[in-house]
């Protein structure tokens, strides 16, 4: 199959999806469906409201992500440095890690009410555990030959840690950051759906209650945009920071 054929089929399937959506919406094949035209209309008429709620979500997601990522990287690094710290914190981390994040939503609503704090902390916990797991594993997987080479060349323990282990785990940490940030936005929205007074999730659930399908689709498209954009941002950072690594991308 030639390259042009490949492109034609690809374009055809995407166009087919749009046409199918349009047909299903205009001929009411499915109850509660809205067409691409209506969604565009919403973007035109409600743009200020949509951006307002999106901004609220972005602030919460980034605050939670920053908080969680900081501790999620710092604590495993400290655990790798001090074996006793690792012995103390390891079991706690492994006991708490398997909690499905969604179950924390009602708990945090109870503890922190429906303000910003609960959502930010939920995202922080989510990002924290993603990064803790990734960073701990990366520290363990640093090839021993690097450490032997460092020791053979007379590097001190601190030197080995900061000049060999730390750079070696950076690519994995960035991988974890990618997972965490693309999860931060949907998690914020999930929390907002259960209790908030602003944000994409709040808006989405309001529109569910009022059966405003076009507005629901519009806000989910904006959320998808956030996910794609943040992922692209971290990937760009990755290319810049880990240009030295041999890993294929």
């Amino acid at each position: 199959m030639s390259r042009t054929q490949h492109l034609v089929y690809g374009a055809g399937s995407l166009a087919g999806l749009l046409v199918l959506w349009w047909l299903a919406a205009s001929y009411r094949w499915v109850p509660y469906l809205t067409g691409p035209g209506e969604v565009l209309g919403v973007f035109r008429s409600e743009i200020s409201e949509l951006t307002d709620h999106t901004l609220a979500t972005v602030v919460r997601a980034l605050a939670g992500f920053g908080l969680g990522a900081f501790f999620g990287i710092a604590i495993p690094l400290a655990m790798g440095w001090k074996p006793y710290l690792r012995a103390a914190l390891g079991p706690l981390v492994h006991l708490a890690r398997p909690v499905p994040l969604v179950t924390l939503i009602p708990l945090f609503l109870l503890w922190f009410g429906i303000g910003e704090l609960g959502e930010i902390l939920l995202v922080a916990v989510g990002s924290f555990f993603i990064l803790v797991v990734v960073t701990l594993e990366a520290i363990e997987n640093v090839p021993s030959i690097y450490l032997w080479a460092g020791a053979a060349l007379g590097a001190s323990r601190g030197h080995v840690y900061w000049r060999i282990i730390f750079p070696a785990v950076v690519p994995s940490i960035i991988g974890g950051l990618r997972v965490a940030i693309t999860f931060a936005f949907p998690l914020t929205v999930a929390a907002e759906m259960m209790g908030a007074q602003r944000g994409q999730g709040y808006y989405l659930w309001q529109m569910v209650m009022h059966l405003q399908l076009a507005r629901m689709v519009a806000i989910v498209l904006l959320l998808t945009g956030l996910v794609v954009a943040s992922d692209a941002l971290v990937r760009a950072m990755d290319r810049y920071v880990t240009a030295w690594s041999e890993r294929r991308r």
Binding site: V99, P100, L101, P186, L187, V227
Partner: protein, 255 residues
């Protein structure tokens, strides 16, 4: 000498680990008994244990419902995902049609799609499992495609040289070779399905753990909330353990 020192070291670390966990439990108990925190916000471990014992029936049924729903979504989505990935590697035309669709739909967050589930599929089983199935489908399509691409061509050449038909190559060479590559995806998919099932249950899941959680919150029965969270943690650990064991058996032949 050195070995003795090393065992002593391991022992000390074990002791530290155990005592930290014990200390957290004791501190939790003391803080609640002393009345530093109101039980509305943090019930003591003993009251949660009491509740787990008293309402064993409700908790077990709740977990059962949620796990059942999660497994339906997971199974349907996973099988569909693996199937489509195989079809796409079988025929280039299928690949050319499916791939752009997957790329476009992949970043749409399933957590947000749960808002559509009930409108489109109702509050029955379909509505509860639809989004989990979708999420598992997307994860598995992408990872299986990747795993199939990574199957060493030597296996395929060997199969072809020995006269295997394409069907036999798929069943006997590609599928077994792909399994180790999608273990990670399967574990991610299970967690995702669990989260999604719970989120839908918050709104429409009579009987499941998600329903128990939200009821605990609305009626301010915090010990129910905590008991349900503990049940979900135990369930996640159990499922992950069983999945890891089952998959380990499936890929034993590798080494």
């Amino acid at each position: 000498m050195r070995r003795e020192a090393a065992t002593a070291d391991v022992l000390t670390r074990r002791l530290i680990s155990l005592s930290v966990v014990a200390a957290v439990l004791v501190a939790w108990y003391l803080v609640t008994v002393a009345g530093v925190v109101r039980p509305l916000y943090l019930p003591g471990p003993h009251t949660i244990a009491q509740l787990l014992a008293d309402e064993r029936q409700t908790m077990v049924t709740g977990v059962g419902w949620t796990v059942l729903r999660m497994l339906v979504g997971f199974t349907v989505g996973t099988l569909a995902g693996i199937g489509v990935a195989c079809a796409a590697s079988w025929s280039r035309m299928v690949a050319a049609i499916v791939e752009p669709l997957i790329q476009v739909l992949k970043p749409v967050p399933p957590l947000a799609l749960t808002a559509f589930a009930i409108l489109w599929f109702g509050t029955g089983l379909t509505g509860i499992v639809a989004i989990s199935a979708w999420a598992c489908f997307i994860i598995l399509v992408i990872e299986t495609r990747e795993a199939i691409r990574n199957v060493s061509p030597i296996y395929l050449w060997a199969g072809a040289a020995l006269g295997a038909s394409q069907g036999v190559v798929y069943r006997r060479i590609i599928l077994p070779a792909v399994l180790p590559g999608i273990i990670g995806a399967l574990r991610v998919a299970v967690v995702m399905a669990f989260n999604l099932t719970l989120l839908v249950e918050f709104r429409a899941g009579a009987g499941g753990v998600g329903y128990l959680l939200i009821r605990g919150y609305t009626f301010l029965r915090t010990n129910v909330l905590f008991a349900a969270i503990i049940c979900t943690i135990a369930t996640t650990l159990l499922i992950d353990f069983l999945l890891a064991r089952a998959l380990h058996r499936l890929v034993q032949w590798r080494t």
